[in-house]
């Protein structure tokens, strides 16, 4: 137990060190533009799977949380010129509140009804933002990046590193939850909600906690997005593609282990980035759809499940 902890934190430190080193060494901007998006999807997928994976509540509201994260930054920046860390912290706080409110409203629903309710909530929030003139309404809003802070000499490089830190934060939280009593309770209620209640698991409270944590992380992941694009508009910030991509990444990676969404986000995120550059963004969505269908049909436990199966077979072969 202890040793895996050391490995994990050493890995995290190495990852952050490498990210920082990249920003200092590589001159070309493209890797950071593409890398930022992949890192952002890792945070989203990891955050999503806290509720969607561990508890089995398939949330299509990722876009709502992501979009609110973007618009928290837009609002704060326009109103007060707040710096990036404040934007992210505020987005996380609002995401937590939103997770709580949405959770109260929707977590009593079962299965597909929960999923549909989260889609509904997304569109309603998007419509509200569309009608909010101060943050630009339907036409969107342009933002001017402030000066970059040292040691970075470029804003996108800084955003890249910030998102890398969010990845470490999200993964650490998800890993902690999975290994704690909370993870066990969520797994129990995923298997059988009534049996979990009758074994002492406060199911609604646990689901709410998962929804709050997941929401806070998703909003935080969205917050730097405003500065990344220097522009925000409701139909892109709340695009259903975020919800489905995130879900696809988690399912492709596998939701039984915290590493699943990370793997899924890297695989699908990288593929999408390559396709967007080489072919077109439409093909990108096509690949998303095809991979989602393929994995759900052929490998329901995702890559993690496939690896486990192979490992089990090998063990049996030896024994």
């Amino acid at each position: 137990m202890k040793r895996t902890g050391i490995y994990f934190w050493t890995g995290a430190a190495l990852f952050l060190g490498a990210a920082l080193l990249m920003t200092q060494v590589i001159g070309n901007q493209y890797p950071f533009f593409a890398g930022y998006v992949i890192l952002q999807f890792i945070v989203l997928a990891v955050a999503w799977s806290i509720l969607g994976g561990y508890a089995g509540y398939v949330n299509f509201g990722t876009a709502a949380f992501f979009g609110i994260g973007v618009y928290t930054s837009v609002f704060l920046f326009k109103a007060t010129g707040a710096p990036l860390p404040v934007q992210i912290a505020a987005a996380a706080a609002i995401g937590a509140l939103m997770g709580f409110a949405l959770g109260l409203l929707t977590l009593r629903m079962q299965g597909i009804f929960f999923s549909i309710a989260t889609i509904a909530a997304t569109i309603i929030i998007e419509t509200a933002i569309t009608n909010w003139r101060y943050v630009g309404g339907a036409a969107g809003i342009q933002l001017q990046r402030p000066a970059v802070t040292a040691p970075f000499d470029n804003y996108v490089e800084m955003l890249f590193f910030v998102q890398a830190m969010l990845v470490v934060l999200a993964v650490a939280i998800s890993r902690y939850i999975q290994r704690s009593w909370m993870g066990r309770g969520l797994q129990a209620l995923k298997d059988d909600e009534l049996a979990a209640e009758c074994t002492g698991v406060p199911t609604l409270r646990l689901k709410l906690m998962a929804c709050v944590i997941s929401g806070a992380l998703m909003c935080a992941a969205g917050a730097p997005g405003a500065m990344y694009l220097q522009y925000a508009d409701p139909s892109s910030a709340f695009n259903l593609n975020y919800s489905v991509s995130t879900l696809a990444m988690s399912l492709i990676g596998g939701t039984a282990h915290w590493a699943g969404p990370v793997i899924g986000a890297i695989v699908l995120g990288t593929t999408q980035q390559l396709l967007t550059v080489t072919i077109s963004s439409e093909v990108n969505v096509l690949v998303l759809g095809v991979m989602l269908v393929l994995f759900v049909v052929a490998a329901p436990e995702g890559i993690i499940g496939l690896v486990r199966k192979v490992r089990r077979k090998r063990n049996e072969g030896e024994g």
Binding site: R184, G185, Q187, A188, E197, T199, G200
Partner: protein, 250 residues
Amino acid sequence: MEAEPQAIQAPLLRISALTKRFGGFTALDNVSVDIRPGERFGLIGPNGSGKTTLINCISGAFRTEPGTVTFRDEDITRLQPHMRTRRGIARSFQIPRPFRSMTVAENLMVGLDFAADTSVIVSEAQRREAMMSILTRMGLASKANVSANQLSQVELRKMELARAMATHPKLLISDEAMAGLSSSEVDEVLDLLMSLAGQDITIIMIEHIMQAVMRFSDRVMCLEAGRIIAIGTPDEVMANQRVQEAYLGT
């Protein structure tokens, strides 16, 4: 026999004037009964007579409209199931409901994580120890690391009882834990329940296998169409004419 001291003792569980309706159908009709501490209480009745509904009302899966449930002098009518579990009411299910993605050990750990007696069990090591001791007692020690999906019917039944025991219950409700078992397996589970009873644990047993209920129970209650038609010692209930009619058909 023991009737005198029990009359003085406060009941462990008091059900008063409980009624449960589903749409126009009345599943329980004004049911009142006291369960005494340490009692082995049998609950019988034909299919659809309201036995499982009564259990669901006690464990909290159903809310009741009129009527109250009092447990250890506390009104628990409005408590959610997990609050009742933490106060000491545990149950098994008629159709086993294990946590299928977990091993047997993990199934028990859920109970120990969320409802263990925190005055005794504090550390993770103590929880593991408690888990192994329950499994040993239930004869499942060798299955600790087996997935709940791979258990046989009798093992599933035992695991459900073990998981219930992990919540350190004062009242254990066994909902047809012997259904579908062979006669030697029935004896096995019955012996287990017998050994659990006594030490601070009161047991309500729902069962269709009449021999088992009669052998097990201090007191038996028979429900028919949501009403109590007989309550008393096993012999008294068996001798009751309405019970015989209910079981032999009209």
